[in-house]
Amino acid sequence: MFKSIRDWIEIRIGLDELVRTQLKEYRVPGNINIFYTLGFIALAAYIIQAVTGFFLLVYYIPSSDHAFMSVQNIMNRVPFGWLFRLMHVVGSNLMVAVVFLHMLSVFFMGSYKKPRELTWVAGGLMMLVTLAFCLSGYLLPWSQLSYWATTIVANLPTAFPVIGDFIAKLLRGGEQVSGITLNRFFAIHIAFLPPILVSIVGIHIFLVRRTGISSPPFGVPDKENNNLTEFRHESHPDGLPFYPYFVHREISMVMIYLALLFFIVTFMPTLFLPEDANTPADPFKTPAHIKPEWYFLAPYQMLKLIPNKFLGISLQVILVAAFLSWPFFDTKKERNLMKRPLLLSVFLISVAIYVLLTLWGLYS
């Protein structure tokens, strides 16, 4: 029975050939390491967010009068509602962490260099869309935390002269964050961003498959990719088969990711839900010591330290733009960061500053 169904499909779409050419004969570098699985984990994290998000939509009410209660209802009354909500909340934080780690590891291994500049840019855009997802989703529970964190973020464009105020009003749908803002952010979160993310993920995966996975720069001579004058697929003929070798490794790592997700959901359920996240939004009372999520603490702390709003926000925009376009500045052939002490120092100092500002923001 199973064989006849399989044969029926095989005749129509040539599945065997597809599996052979795209999975078994597709090879990854022999010295590939565990950090190369981060992209797949990020993809798995996106899928978990999409699936749990669909489930939450069944009970969530996108209205300022009902949003908070509907989320409380999901948490306290809907059978296993707490599980899907917590998976969504914890998953969003872990997803950001995985995307950050993926970007950092790609940077550390010099995999952004020619001919993979576009892959890096697509990855960077994905990171920004991921953060946009987090921002737009943050308001939806309509809690004190979500309301005031969104108020701060929606005010950021006002730092820019002429169009800043208009952009901020456009985002909020008025002078203040209100029910209109909730509807806008809901639309952005569930309808506007998903197709953008899917498109960029598609382009990113296409670019990775088209150019071939880059080799880690450690222990093997560089293939002189910088001298390319025409397109060349890096096929790694001496490498390992994508399936089963690398696929198994990726799935093992996703299992570790899931273990971490369920560990936090089970044993640390309030890790990302402080008290203000369980208090309904009060548009007339800003809570003391409001803090954004951990991944925005560094920019938030930077805004506190730089007295000029325009300067503070512009500096952050410039830093993000420089990070995204880094492959176009760094055109040196050497990919091994260990052989480039200056760049290694800049990399380590930047990460240290980000961590320091995050901790400072957390405890200030």
């Binding site: 108020t151 701060i152 005010n155 456009l170 002078e175 203040q176 009372k285 409001i290 805004l303 506190k304």
Partner: protein
């Protein structure tokens, strides 16, 4: 002009027209209505706010505060911090307004004393007529 150039120009024109026909309504569709603060008038009882005390109010859709300053009389200020939009709180002992988010400080005229806010708090016109304080 040959036939191909003409068609390309025509298509570009039609494309631009289609884009504008969609883009302008979209911009208007998304653009928010005004706050209503400009035309909004609000009356509070003078006796409700003793000297040194304050009362939170809503001017249009803007959260605001009216303060009865012991020395200079009533003033109505927007509570929206000009830095990133958190609501300032009135500290009657220190006679100033403080933002809980980034520690911006304002005096009772709404002027910035310290911190990152780039400009003063928005002021609303105040008129005292008998026992009524009219804001707006």
């Amino acid at each position: 002009m040959d036939r191909r150039t003409f068609l390309n120009t025509l298509l570009s024109f039609l494309g631009a027209t289609a884009l504008f026909s969609f883009g302008y309504p979209l911009l208007r569709f998304l653009a928010p209505p005004g706050s209503g603060a400009e035309t909004h008038k609000l009356t509070v009882n003078k006796s409700d706010i003793l000297p040194g005390e304050s009362k939170s109010i809503l001017v249009g859709s803007i959260p605001a505060i009216i303060i009865n300053r012991a020395d200079k009389g009533f003033i109505a200020l927007s509570k929206v911090c000009t830095h990133l939009g958190c609501l300032v709180e009135y500290d009657k002992d220190k006679k100033r307004l403080q933002c809980p988010c980034h520690a911006g400080l304002f005096d009772l005229e709404g002027n910035v004393i310290s911190g990152p806010p780039p400009k003063s708090l928005r002021k609303f016109p105040v008129k005292v007529e008998g026992d009524a304080v009219i804001i707006g």
